[in-house]
């Protein structure tokens, strides 16, 4: 899975924002605010990865047990899919 084409992750005034660019800005009229963990997940997803790769990236970056990591990733992915910014 991968973030859809045409979104730019930027740090603006210490906030993580994802901004649509080009055609994506026509379909998605807004911005996405992410916390630091969300920005980490986004940056991994923007290169394309499997679910298991995402989980192992989180486990190597954060001191967290696997069940909690998976739960948080699932919540993030559901929100991102509902916003239609991720493709499989």
């Amino acid at each position: 899975m991968k973030t859809k084409k045409g979104f730019m992750l930027r740090k603006v005034a210490d906030k993580n924002v994802v901004v649509p660019i080009g055609q994506a800005s026509v379909d998605f009229n807004g911005i996405i605010n992410l916390n630091d963990t969300g920005a980490f997940l986004w940056s991994i997803l923007s290169k394309g990865c499997t679910y298991d790769e995402l989980v192992s990236s989180v486990l190597s970056e954060y001191d967290v047990n696997e069940d909690i990591a998976k739960h948080d990733i699932d919540v993030f992915l559901k929100t991102a899919r509902d916003a239609d910014v991720i493709e499989d």
């Binding site: 730019m8 930027r10 740090k11 603006v12 005034a13 210490d14 906030k15 924002v17 901004v19 660019i21 080009g22 800005s25 009229n29 807004g30 911005i31 605010n33």
Partner: protein, 237 residues
């Protein structure tokens, strides 16, 4: 002919009265090098007429030269904010909202309430960052009205305007400020232009307070806005 708009030297062929009238005060006869040179070909106009059969050449010229100017502005640490900008006590206050909300109606209340205030640009003022501070410029692109002046004024504050029964003003969160600015400027299609705008917004939301004004159409709305924003004009220039 050369014009100087927001300290950017442009070379335009202005053939029609709408922009022709509004750009008169911006004629430039100095020797600084031209930053933007635009000549629209007959073919360009012909294609536009097919695409916008209801728009006159007058309107097309105004729209497209404006578009060229504001795209260039992005490369000069600047951005357009779709807003009505009023100046009082040498500070520029920008009131931004989607069309039809009542930006111009609100700034007209300032003119009534605060003698000496004036409209710097009623629709598309230019904001530029510089070593000496953050400034707002009048531009000839002021919408249907000719409410604009060729001046540069230190920024006082930015305000998102909403209609309400009673008047109140609050600071918005950084996230809301970023969205407000990005939502009321020309969203560029090109990635490097967007990147430049994000750099500008990054500085703006750090340096300039952004508010949400809920307001009615009484002159009290101007008082509430001014009293809420004046305390934060500490970027002396």
């Amino acid at each position: 002919m050369k014009y100087k708009i927001a300290d950017i030297i442009v070379d335009f062929d202005v053939l029609h009265p709408h922009l022709g009238n509004q750009i008169k005060d911006y004629v430039y006869d100095g020797n600084e090098k031209t930053n933007l040179h635009v000549r629209f070909t007959d073919q360009f106009y012909e294609d536009l007429r097919k695409y916008y059969p209801n728009l006159s050449d007058d309107t097309l010229e105004y729209m497209y030269l404006g578009g060229e100017f504001y795209s260039t502005l992005v490369y000069f640490n600047g951005m357009m904010l779709h807003s009505s900008c009023v100046v009082y006590n040498n500070r520029a206050y920008l009131f931004s909202a989607p069309s039809g909300t009542g930006k111009s109606t609100h700034t007209q209340l300032w003119l009534k309430r605060f003698p000496g205030s004036y409209i710097l640009n009623d629709d598309k003022p230019a904001i530029r960052l510089s070593k000496n501070g953050i400034f707002v410029y009048g531009t000839p692109f002021s919408g249907k009205t000719n409410l604009q002046q060729n001046k540069r004024v230190p920024i006082g504050g930015i305000c998102v305007l909403e209609r309400a029964e009673t008047n109140s003003i609050t600071r918005v969160s950084t996230e809301d400020a970023i969205f407000a600015l990005l939502n009321q400027t020309i969203r560029p299609y090109k990635e490097d232009e967007l990147d430049k705008i994000m750099n500008t917004i990054d500085i703006l939301v750090r340096e300039v307070p952004v508010y949400r004004l809920k307001c009615n159409m009484e002159t009290e709305a101007a008082e509430v806005a001014y009293n809420g924003m004046k305390g934060n004009t500490d970027n002396e220039n």
